[in-house]
């Protein structure tokens, strides 16, 4: 009996402790406002937590309120989805793409920010193309944040060794010649790993489809008469991609066997000439040693036909939204607007987080490591031109998009034909349009 008594006592003790180990804060401090972010990297978590705390404090000071902040991180779409279908919703949160915010808005889960957008003049600050992504039926439903684009990185030393010049690789023949040379010298021409991150396949397809013809992509997604995924142009593009895979140009034929970390490691260990990744890549470049950093160069992907010049398929990296259930809409809008402050943009850069999609003072770009500075030059240059392309995750309908990067592997594996793949994409696209998907695709210049 004594033993049981002891056990019961222990249980009671642990139970009491765990009761106090709850996550709710006592209401001796003011109302709690919860911010949920999807960042996982330590530096980014710290910065965002610090910034939001500062904003809340300043809001409290200005308005005589006493909100206390609860900041949680590492919440990806699966967690957000679960939370938003329950009663434990965060007040503001970040989600992955405009397609997601469309879905959420369609289910009535987002706070209509239109009046705040007017109050804070967002239409004047934010890039037009980004701003249009935030609107659903003309109402502003989210704050687009972070612009990322698809570029291609290369190893400067291997370039030199092969006698190539990055600046002069602009067309398809030049690109394929470079890849052939790399392959013959026993290097992997283009590195890409999608084993643990299947979305990596869509990085490349974003570029290739965008390069097939931006206007074409826009009309196809919108379901315009006479345009379909099954068109010859797309079939040619997929065939091109498949040919690269078959020749071993694409990650030695194992782009879906290698993980994204493998791809990074192989590239930084001088085994590959090109690495396909977007403008978020600095997050793994910054921890490298200086000598390794300086080996990396960046450029826009070469053209694949005569239709499009090299350009940068764009995406918004994040959509910051407010829950329609929030009890503190003013604070929510205030916090979102503060993310657009000029002077914090350089802090975002330092930790490799996204930047606000607006014109940013050049001074914020100073003090960056060379390769990152190069990248922003490429990016800002492309944006200044006003020409950009369409990434899959920002602009395509969700199911079509998932099939895009899952199905392509079956094509590469010769399990389905290109026609079957494209037909399925067309079918899904049509289905989603019928079920109410609303494409928001600003026209490219």
């Amino acid at each position: 009996m004594k033993r049981i008594g002891l056990m019961v006592l222990m249980m009671l003790l642990v139970l009491t402790v765990s009761v106090y180990a709850g996550g709710e804060q006592e209401s001796s401090e003011g109302p709690v406002f919860e911010v949920s972010s999807n960042v996982t990297e330590e530096g980014q978590v710290e910065l965002l937590g610090k910034l939001f705390q500062r904003f809340v404090d300043e809001y409290n000071a200005e308005n005589g309120t006493n909100y206390s902040l609860k900041f949680v991180s590492g919440q990806g779409m699966d967690i957000i989805n679960t939370r938003m279908s329950s009663n434990n919703k965060p007040d503001i949160f970040s989600i992955d793409s405009p397609a997601d915010s469309n879905e959420f808005a369609g289910s009535g889960l987002l706070l209509d920010l239109t009046e705040y957008a007017e109050q804070y003049s967002w239409d004047e600050t934010i890039f037009d193309w980004a701003y249009s992504l935030a609107k659903v039926d003309g109402d502003v439903m989210a704050l687009p944040f972070g612009y990322e684009g698809m570029v291609i990185w290369y190893n400067k030393e291997i370039m030199k060794e092969l006698g190539l010049d990055a600046q002069s690789i602009d067309t398809l023949p030049e690109f394929e010649a470079a890849m052939k040379k790399a392959s013959e010298a026993d290097y992997i021409p283009v590195m890409l790993g999608s084993q643990d991150w299947p979305w990596a396949q869509e990085w490349y397809l974003s570029i290739l489809y965008s390069y097939t013809g931006r206007d074409r992509v826009k009309k196809t997604i919108e379901g315009v008469e006479g345009y379909a995924w099954t068109d010859e142009a797309f079939a040619e593009t997929v065939a091109l991609y498949e040919s690269w895979h078959d020749k071993g140009y694409l990650a030695d034929g194992r782009s879906y066997v290698l993980t994204s970390d493998d791809a990074i490691n192989l590239f930084t260990n001088d085994r590959a000439l090109f690495k396909l990744e977007g403008t978020w890549a600095p997050y793994w470049m910054m921890p490298l040693e200086e000598a390794d950093q300086n080996k990396i160069g960046v450029m826009l992907h070469p053209a694949i036909n005569d239709i499009e010049e090299p350009h940068m398929p764009l995406a918004v990296g994040n959509m910051w939204c407010a829950s329609s259930d929030t009890e503190h809409p003013e604070l929510a809008a205030y916090l979102l607007d503060r993310l657009l402050d000029q002077d914090i943009q350089s802090e975002f850069l330092d930790v490799g987080y996204d930047l606000a999609p607006m014109q940013i003072n050049e001074s914020e770009f100073e003090g960056l490591i060379p390769v990152v500075e190069d990248m922003w030059n490429v990016v800002n240059g492309a944006l200044a031109d006003g020409s950009f392309g369409y990434t899959t995750w920002a602009f395509y309908p969700p199911e079509t998009r998932v099939y895009l990067y899952e199905g392509i592997v079956n094509v590469l594996e010769d399990k389905i034909t290109i026609d079957e793949y494209l037909s399925e994409m067309q079918r899904l696209n049509q289905k989603e349009l019928e079920q109410g998907f609303n494409p928001v695709i600003p026209a490219a210049n």
Partner: protein
């Protein structure tokens, strides 16, 4: 005869050692790699470390905020374990011994309950718990863990108790013991092997569980060790040595607990229960 015995002995032990080596080699490789630098690892995947610096460990511990995470994991796992053990022995006993009408239905129920995948109830339970304020709270997680681990361990305990001869409790009943006295004074001591087993299983399962814990705990200060590891590695995955180091750091406490638990309970283990 004795030579044959000796040879048999050697053969058996060599086999056991070989299997042990195979089981441990991935862990040993991980341990060694945690001390090597990423550059070395990319050059050759396994090998002995050239130096033993603990920087990586301190870094991994700090970044992962492991102290708090371990405290959380200990609370969650301990409470779950004790609860499930108690329920398993009690339910296991009655389902093995007693003869009440719905007994068979309940046994079948728990068997069928094993076939319910986590995703069948994850989201609805999250919804209900959020109404009750049980999300983002260690208690909510514990309650769910207990429910998840009940069926298997109750059935396991029942199977074991079926193997305990009835004469024991029958003689106790003759002596005038009440049912619960029988459970505490006879069944419990004899069931040490299965109690250890169940305790180990529940503790380890709840410690390592990721999917449910990640969904039900939001606040960073509540997160358990397994959740921390996944997030940590997700971001720094390309730094191979850090991946291995973080693995060791996350593993070490549970391995230590395991070694401690098993020694403590197995002390008096004897073969056969007639004694």
């Amino acid at each position: 005869m004795s030579v044959w015995r000796r040879l048999n002995h050697i053969f058996v032990y060599s086999f056991l050692c070989l299997v042990a080596l195979l089981q441990l080699s991935p862990l040993l490789a991980t341990l060694f790699n945690s001390f090597r630098s990423t550059k070395d690892i990319t050059k050759f995947p396994i090998g002995l470390p050239t130096q033993y610096n603990l920087e990586n460990y301190i870094e991994a511990w700090r970044v992962g905020e492991y102290t708090r995470a371990f405290a959380n994991s200990i609370i969650v796992s301990s409470v779950s374990t004790i609860s499930v053990v108690l329920m398993a022995i009690i339910a296991g006993f009655f389902l093995a011994r007693s003869n009440f009408k719905i007994k068979d239905y309940i046994i079948t129920y728990f068997g069928v309950a094993l076939s319910i995948p986590v995703f069948a109830f994850l989201v609805p339970v999250y919804f209900s718990f959020s109404e009750l304020g049980l999300v983002d709270h260690l208690i909510g997680l514990v309650l769910l863990f207990i429910a998840i681990n009940m069926p298997f361990n109750i059935l396991l305990s029942r199977t074991y108790i079926l193997g305990i001869p009835r004469e024991l409790d029958e003689s106790a009943t003759m002596d005038g013991c009440s049912v619960y006295q029988i459970i505490w004074n006879i069944i419990f001591p004899i069931s040490k092997p299965i109690i250890t087993t169940i305790a180990l299983i529940v503790f380890v399962t709840t410690w390592n569980e990721f999917t449910v814990a990640n969904t039900f705990l939001q606040s960073p200060e509540l997160k358990t060790a397994s959740t921390k590891y996944v997030l940590f590695v997700g971001e720094r995955g390309s730094d191979l040595s850090l991946v291995y180091t973080a693995g060791i750091v996350t593993m070490l406490p549970i391995v230590a607990v395991f070694i401690a638990l098993q020694n403590y309970f197995i002390e008096g283990m004897t073969t056969g229960s007639i004694k």
